[in-house]
Amino acid sequence: MISVVVLGAFAVLFATAVPALLRRLPLDRAPRVGTVLWQVTLAAATASALLAALALAVLLPELSRDLAESFRLCLLALQHAYRSPGGLAGAALGLALFVAMSIRLLWSLAHSLHEARRQRVRHRALLALVARPHVGATVVVDSPVAIAYCVPGRPGHVVVTEGALARLTPDELDAVVAHERAHLRGRHALVLAGIDALCAAAPRISGFRDARQEVGRLLEMLADDAARREHGGLPVAHALLRLGTARAPAGALPANGGDTMARVLRLTGQRDAAPRWLSAVGYLAALSMLVAPVLIALGPVAAADRTYCPVEGASVSAESTI
């Protein structure tokens, strides 16, 4: 019972309090750790909710039998360890919840990935029609709209327009292309599609939407770092300014308040990276978030191990610690 409650509390914590905390942390200083922390938080929230439902459902005879056999435990002791006021009715509810949540998650994931793929395929078909190859895997579109973006796929493409070419120096163009290629290598679009799926599955949880926004920001910084290593920070920063102001005043791309400024500060060395040990702490925290729900879910298994196993038909005499 306690494990169900704790796991439920974890689910709420990982969906609300932890995102609120992460938003306040200066993750700009360690974007890779930042993206890991955000993704792990989402995974932990989902896992906790599913495990909570499972911990209830485990009282169902088939499930507890399977679990007892896997861990070579006494069946009655195991059922005693996982007991809850709801009994079998609660267990049935738990199973229903687990199945419902799983289906919703899987469907949402499939839909999100399918939708993203559909749009990409359509876009690539149009590119095949009107774009002409540039250097490397870059293609150029003959349009005065000054934008640069990447389209994932096999192979991925970096797209720049004539408008963008007209505004950027050769250095800046190289930097932009390096940035977009970092997105392609890192499969960032896939990560974002996954988070989109979670947002669609649980639209009322604002913590998931925050995750989508923050991970988007941090992935841009990761790509900036890759471009900076190859071409220096200044070309990237100048390119940001040139392309970001190309469509003023009524831009077609939605403006994110202050995000670009943060990127420029990082690129011009006016924002220090976090020290190594702090990143290590971050990764450790991420690991703990993943491990904790699993430990809690399996806690009763450990307790059942120490309980005296009763003879068939007799009631359990020793009180377990759960």
Partner: protein, 123 residues
């Protein structure tokens, strides 16, 4: 709309360049000047493009003539509309380099860049 091969792309370029309905023979004559290519190949390609909805096929006397459904510019415009529509956070099909910034942010960035340049010169 499925993917286009290189030949299909070349044929479309020719049709666009003609700017009037063309026959298979018209296109073949142009292509044959640059490469070895059979009439049947060009015919197959143009039929395929018509099936994909990129070319319109009409009967002119006894032969078919083909014209482009949309101009190159119209396709490009459609591409740009899609690219810009994809910039909102609802879909991660494309990833843009930068979104538009408000004038105030642009000014702040110019100042930051100038200040970084000054520090660079002092070193």
């Amino acid at each position: 709309m499925a993917q286009l091969g290189e030949l299909e792309r070349t044929v479309m370029e020719r049709v666009w360049a003609w700017a009037r309905p063309v026959s298979v023979r018209d296109v073949l004559e142009e292509l044959a000047a640059e490469r070895t290519i059979a009439y049947t190949t060009v015919m197959t390609i143009m039929e395929r493009l018509a099936r994909k909805g990129l070319l319109r096929r009409q009967l002119d006397g006894k032969a078919y003539i083909y014209s482009a459904v949309l101009t190159r510019e119209q396709h490009t415009a459609a591409l740009m509309v899609e690219a810009l529509a994809n910039a909102d956070d609802r879909s991660a099909a494309l990833v843009h380099f930068v979104n538009d910034m408000k004038p105030a942010e642009a000014d702040a960035i110019r100042r930051a860049l100038a200040s970084a340049a000054r520090k660079q010169r002092r070193r």
